[in-house]
């Protein structure tokens, strides 16, 4: 009886602690949604009881005709959103084109300097970004790449390429070499085996890794901050402008935050099964 009581007690305490943690983890997100639904008049009054309005979303997405002069920056949101989309998907496409073959090479062939090469790619994941982008801010100005899509997509390879190479390498290594051998005996050349046998096998992992790379690129802040200006300004950089302007626009800022973060939460939910391997660069096969 005593043992059973203790068991129930631990289980209640454990669930209690979990619920407390998840209140902490989810509260800011819930609060962000609530604030985004508040009208400016109600922003400073009662915290939780208010009449919800979609005005903030409308203002963010379609511009606000009644807006004061200081709100001009807010009407840029759709453009910033598009910029984020262009540079993030551009970066992922480039990384896929060059990274998938590299991952295959690193997984299947044994060649001189292989591990060094793999670790050089990985080391850029851990390097402080400024060590590359301070000199780049000068080089880009000289080359005319400052504030261009190409320039940002190029530097985003620091974010997307190590991830794709390392995660895909681990997926390629999971495939038994017997499959390739069988295809080889049938007389298929290596590139057809790669394209027609191996790629379809890693496709789910490939799609998940690409989506995760997209999320990381989208979330990046320091690259467009230093190497971009008005032309390629992304959501993350422009979000900073909302809060430094008047507090009265906190609700707009919250609406912008909701619009720019919910697609990613949905993406993450859709690749949940592959997420742990992606987040750990292939080290943990969750």
């Amino acid at each position: 009886m005593d043992v059973r009581l203790r068991k129930v007690l631990t289980s209640v305490l454990s669930d209690g602690f979990l619920i407390l943690y998840f209140l902490f983890a989810l509260f800011p997100i819930v609060w962000m949604v609530l604030v985004s639904l508040k009208s400016t008049n109600e922003l400073f009054t009662t915290q939780f009881i208010f009449t919800p309005t979609l005005d903030n979303y409308q203002a963010i997405l379609f511009g606000d005709a009644r807006a004061a002069a200081g709100v001009i920056a807010k009407q840029e949101f759709p453009r910033n959103f598009m910029n984020s989309f262009i540079v993030s998907s551009g970066a992922v496409v480039v990384s896929l084109l060059v990274g998938v073959p590299a991952a295959y090479s690193l997984a299947r062939y044994d060649f001189k300097g292989k591990e060094n090469l793999a670790f050089t790619f990985l080391s850029f994941r851990f390097a402080p970004e400024l060590v590359v982008i301070i000199p780049l801010s000068l080089i880009y100005r000289q080359l005319g790449l400052y504030d261009t899509y190409f320039g940002i997509i190029w530097v985003y390879q620091l974010v997307t390429l190590p991830l794709l190479i390392w995660v895909l390498r681990s997926y390629f290594e999971d495939i038994s070499p017997d499959i390739e051998q069988a295809a080889m005996i049938d007389g298929y050349p290596w590139y057809r085996i790669f394209l027609q046998v191996l790629l379809p096998l890693v496709r789910p992992g490939l799609a998940a890794a690409a989506l995760l790379a997209f999320v990381f690129a989208w979330n990046n802040f320091i690259f467009p901050l230093v190497l971009g200006a008005s032309h390629v300004q992304t959501v993350t950089v422009s979000a900073l402008g909302y809060i430094s302007s008047a507090q009265a626009f906190f609700n707009r800022m919250a609406a912008a935050a909701v619009i720019s973060s919910f697609p990613q939460i949905l993406l993450a939910l859709s690749i949940q099964r592959y997420l742990i391997r992606g987040l750990s660069f292939g080290a943990v096969k969750g």
């Binding site: 979990l18 902490f24 990274g99 299947r108 780049l136 802040f221 230093v226 900073l240 997420l275």
Partner: protein, 315 residues
Amino acid sequence: MATIQSDPADGLSTILESEIIRPPLMVRLRPYLIALPALLVLIGILYPFVMGVAYSFTAYAFTRPNTSFVWLRQYQRMVEDSDFLYSTFVTLAYAFSATGVQLLLGLIVAMLLNRESRIAKILQVTLIFPMMIAPVITTLIWKMMMQPSVGILNPILNSVGLPSLEWAAVPQTALFSVVLVDVWMFTPFAALILLAGLRSFPQGPFEAARVDGASFWFTFRNLTLPMLTPFILIVIIFRFMDSLKMFDIIFAMTEGGPGSTLMTYQLTAYRTSIQFQKLAQGLPYAIVLYLVIYFVSQWLVKRWGIAQRRAAGYS
């Protein structure tokens, strides 16, 4: 279990053997050729890096482009700066406290989620949400919550009888405020990795311990912890390196302020090289940070390999 990379040589030998009739040079070059596009991108990234190291030996500034070498004078200047020691302290304090709290809290959450509990199953799905929102956006939300007139954190503190805080606006609580945001954002990462570790354990040793009537602490110290070590190291590798170079959260919260309370190496490098346009003068901070991260991460990756082999002995 996180497996050590399967030996790729198996695949190689079979591929090479079957192609002995082909010209061997092309076969030998093939892995390089396949990786060539990625190598070119790599060179495009390495070039600015090398240039950055070279510029750190000059007195180059955007306003005064002068590439004559001054050798180690920029480094000397950094070390002799009155803020250098403090900057080192803040960088390390941020990294150690954020990683430490995330590891501890992540471990507790992972162990609690690894039970037969309906609540645990429902909550686990939402674990990934904080990680997926851009750090800048997350920080702005927290900044709003900490704000005195619109914010919600002070009313919450007051409602349980605690006094209001000034959060990131005053030096006393600024570091706490940014570390809090970091902990909120990345504890789920630690929890997910450790949970994957816990779920990969073989049941045998734990059954045996239970049958023998071992206490929770005994099992935890002698079974759970050693088997979990590789996963703990993965969390440390990612979180410690990332928090040493954390920029987004600190910049979005206070831009390094109030005063220079949160001027870590990254923030100092940014402010000096980009904001003040003294390109060469800020570079030593970024380069020293790079060297620290490079050697510490290599050492940790090595430890990870050892821990993995050792943990494999338990199963």
